[in-house]
């Protein structure tokens, strides 16, 4: 076993140890055992950092990969299935090493931060235990080398998110949110499991490597549509976990959990699991499946961004921005910008964790006030939070010199390249939605920064009716807030903010602030060669030769992409560089090439969009040239549409939930009337049959028995009279019988 594998097993099991210790013994440990959680995560991070150092810094090989597995369950020959063996295994490649370091680092920082944020909570110890099991499950997903174990850890992540979202389960809203999250995830997981079964039915293995080898060898016996279906079903798991469009509804509600949990689960790691999973199965996704994925991602990014601009809860804005950014990542994977999407996954994890922890600091300082309308002017009171929050905001908006800029632009460049290669007009919708969402992102983050940190405190503007103090005490209470109570948070909450903010700066990832591709990340994470693509190449080549004149005009740099021969060569080189397959899908190479060519147009457009978005936020909220309230009044239907989150909750309420209730009512009716009717009918039938049987017994069988007894008795009673005890009677009888005999005898003789 490779020493890295051994170390990674230690990293995997350490958080589980933390969970076991804390869930059983937290009340017996000093400080409820929070030092156990922090210490164990610190150790895990140290080991992960060593793995990261070994793999990324020392080895520095895009094709680095070590794997190990063992047979977990061997059921032998199972009738109808064949040899059923379930293996567990660990794979470490560059992506795993990066994810390992990222998850443990963010988890460590969240643990540290929580010692301040959650201090004094009555379930303090259990909180750290839940963080432990969550980290364990996430690391399990990252390290798994097969679909089966990834599914197990997938469900564990679902469970731990359920526990953490509903941590304040006394609140109805938290209990509802945890149920919603769990159910939405279940819907996705069912699809994922079906996808796993399709692949298993074909190859009789869960291992990624074997499945891909079999696919590359063309052993998929069913039609291509089945492969597309398998890919999309597996993607459904991502739709649930990464909050993509039809199932995105749970993530904003999940903000009911403690804020550090939002940072850990709903920004940095759990939702990243979906994207990570799609990256793992990327090579088996057919072009058709990728198109669907790209459109879902683009739509999610756009929709969530439009919702985020009107939300008032500080965490809800961030939640919708998370959904939007996850849409970007999925879009990136869909268009084939594999490394860009994963790059965005990592950069987003850091700056979004920073934003959530910063919002946690604000909420903590504001005494659990989450509504941005009643904040304002916090930059004077919380300089550290202000600085880090702003830096992370800039990264989220995608301003140059930040990490978010590089990764988002790489995705958008990929989207442009993809649209060019596909050539159809509708495919340009993807980059257009992407750019528009980038503008909206800049707008709503500018709005948030302004509302929270600038201007004067608006605490006193808060309507008193839902305040727990009386009207008289109200203003005094607010003054109290402003002068004495809003203060910077303690060091253990500040340090994570600073570390995460530093990780949002470009230099960590790439020496060139404009091009992430020159950095170590994009060099280490190369798009793997697809194992299903070549079949569809002919049609994409046709598309490629007829580029849309519109986009050709817009992006002269990509005009030459029609020369397919040149791209085939590029594809070959690309494949040689990744060193994984002897052949490469020309389509993939084409997209990669076109994306590279679209790099600068993407930078220009997105920079303009971001600057425009921030300026718009400034015009609206800072200088109030356009009054936001009047504008909202002017476009009230649109405003309400956004404020009410596109009415998705209402739509689901009236369709799926009402439908489920109706269905259950129908089934209940069916149960009570038909099933129960049948059962009761059978019961009545049996009962009547039993009665009939009983009567037969009672009257016929018993009657016969009694009649026999009665007749014997009666006969006996009659015959008993003959027994007089008198000899003469007997003699008389003898004579009578004798006489009778003679009469009989002689009668016979005569006739």
């Amino acid at each position: 076993m490779h020493s890295l594998i051994q170390l990674s097993i230690v990293v995997l099991l350490l958080p589980l140890l933390s969970f076991v210790i804390l869930i059983f013994f937290n009340r017996r440990l000093p400080r409820r055992g929070d030092f156990v959680g922090v210490g164990i995560l610190g150790t895990a991070f140290a080991i992960s950092a060593y793995i990261f150092w070994t793999v990324i810094v020392q080895t520095y090989d895009p094709a680095f990969r070590v794997a190990w597995d063992f047979t977990w369950i061997d059921l032998g020959k199972v009738p109808g299935i064949g040899h059923l063996q379930i293996k567990m295994g660990i794979v470490i490649d560059n992506l795993t090493a990066i994810m390992l370091a990222m998850v443990t680092l963010i988890s460590l920082l969240v643990h540290l931060y929580s010692t301040g944020y959650m201090a004094g909570d009555k379930n303090y110890g259990r909180y750290f235990a839940f963080l432990g099991i969550f980290t364990f499950s996430m690391l399990g997903i990252v390290l798994s080398d097969n679909l089966f174990s990834i599914y197990i850890f997938w469900e564990l992540v679902g469970l731990s998110s359920y526990l953490l979202i509903g941590f304040f389960f006394e609140k109805d809203s938290a209990a509802d949110a945890q149920k919603k999250a769990f159910l939405a995830n279940r819907v996705g997981d069912i699809g994922m499991w079906l996808g796993i079964l399709i692949l298993y039915s074909q190859f009789h293995t869960f291992s990624f490597e074997q499945i891909y080898a079999n696919l590359a060898a063309g052993k998929f016996a069913m039609s291509n549509a089945w492969l597309t279906a398998a890919g999309l079903l597996l993607f459904m798991g991502c739709v649930g976990k990464s909050a993509q469009f039809p199932l995105h509804i749970w993530l904003p509600d999940a903000m009911e959990g403690p804020t550090p949990v939002s940072a850990l689960i709903h920004a940095a790691t759990m939702v990243a699991a979906g994207v990570y999973f799609v990256a793992r199965i990327f090579v088996l996704l057919t072009p058709d499946a990728l198109h669907v994925i790209a459109f879902i991602g683009a739509f999610t990014a756009f929709m969530a961004a439009t919702i985020a601009i009107t939300q008032n809860d500080i965490k809800r804005v961030l939640a919708y921005s998370t959904v939007s950014q996850l849409g970007y990542m999925v879009l990136g994977l869909g268009v084939g910008a594999y490394s860009a999407a994963l790059f965005h996954l990592v950069t987003h994890a850091f700056f979004k964790a920073c934003l959530f922890l910063g919002s946690g600091a604000i909420i903590h300082a504001m005494h659990h006030e989450q509504d941005m309308r009643w904040m304002g002017g916090l930059r004077r009171h919380m300089p550290w939070t202000f600085a880090t929050f702003t830096l992370a905001t800039l990264a989220l908006a995608g301003l140059p010199l930040t990490s978010g800029f590089m990764s988002k632009d790489a995705i958008l460049a990929g989207a442009i390249g993809f649209a060019n290669v596909e050539g159809g007009g509708i495919y340009y919708l993807i980059p257009v939605l992407g750019f528009f969402s980038a503008m909206l992102t800049a707008f709503y983050m500018g709005r948030q920064i302004w509302l929270v940190f600038f201007g004067e405190s608006r605490t006193h503007l808060k309507p008193a009716d839902n305040h727990h103090h009386g009207l008289d005490a109200h203003s005094a209470h607010d003054d109290h807030h402003d002068d004495h109570e809003v203060h910077e948070v303690s060091w253990n909450m500040r340090a994570p903010l600073v570390i995460l903010a530093v990780l949002s700066v470009f230099i960590v990832y790439s020496p060139n602030p404009l091009d992430g591709a020159e950095g170590w990340f994009m060099k280490m994470i190369k798009t793997p060669a697809t194992v299903v693509g070549p079949a569809n190449h002919n049609c994409t080549a046709l598309h490629a030769e007829t580029p849309s004149p519109l986009m050709a005009e817009a992006f002269p740099a990509v005009e030459t992409h029609g020369a397919t021969d040149a791209h085939a060569v590029t594809g070959g080189e690309h494949a040689a560089a990744t060193g994984e397959h002897a052949f490469a899908d020309p389509r993939q190479a084409e997209i990669a090439h076109a994306a590279h060519a679209a790099h600068f147009p993407a930078i220009y457009i997105s920079s303009i969009m971001v600057v425009f978005g921030i300026s718009l936020a400034g015009i609206v909220f800072v200088f109030r040239i356009i009054d936001p309230d009047k504008t909202a009044e002017a476009i009230r239907p649109l405003y309400l549409f956004s404020l009410n989150k596109w009415y998705w909750d209402e739509i689901y309420q009236s369709t799926f939930i009402k439908g489920s209730v109706l269905l259950s009512k129908i089934l209940s009716w069916f149960d009570t009337n038909v099933i129960d009717g049948i059962v009761n009918g059978v019961a009545v039938l049996v009962r009547n049959l039993a009665f009939a049987n009983n009567s037969f017994d009672k009257y016929v069988v018993d009657g016969l028995v009694n009649f026999t007894a009665f007749s014997v008795n009666t006969t006996g009673a009659v015959l008993r009279k003959l027994q007089t005890g008198k000899v003469q009677t007997y003699v008389a009888l003898l004579l009578v019988v004798l006489f009778g005999y003679f009469v009989f005898y002689f009668t016979r003789l005569i006739y």
Binding site: Q723, T724, G725, K726, V727
Partner: protein, 105 residues
């Protein structure tokens, strides 16, 4: 004396029938156990007369032998029956046959 009819089989049988009738009558009507036994003797002797009569008119010695057996058995029967009657008398202080009915229902 020609009116006299020579004694034939019918005469014997008639006598025997009368004897049987008298015996039966005695057995069925008398209450005294001794008289009942006497009736039984009459019946046995009626049978003996029959045996002898048929033996005489039929030839052979079988009827005679049979009647001898009957006489012997009648003697044995009389001995046993009288012993029973004596025991009945001991128990019931009476030889009234109608009072000996403890075996009735």
């Amino acid at each position: 004396m020609q009116h006299l009819i020579p004694i034939g089989l019918n005469h014997y049988l008639t006598i025997s029938a009368f004897l049987l009738a008298f015996g039966l009558f005695a057995v069925m009507t008398r209450k005294n156990a001794i008289v009942v036994l006497m009736g039984v003797e009459l019946i046995l002797n009626a049978a003996n007369i029959n045996f002898l009569a048929f033996s005489k008119y039929n030839g052979g010695i079988g009827g005679v032998m049979f009647s001898l057996f009957v006489i012997v058995i009648a003697a044995a029967e009389a001995a046993i029956a009288l012993a029973i009657v004596i025991n009945i008398f001991k128990i019931f202080k009476s030889v009234d046959i109608s009072s000996v009915d403890t075996m009735k229902e």
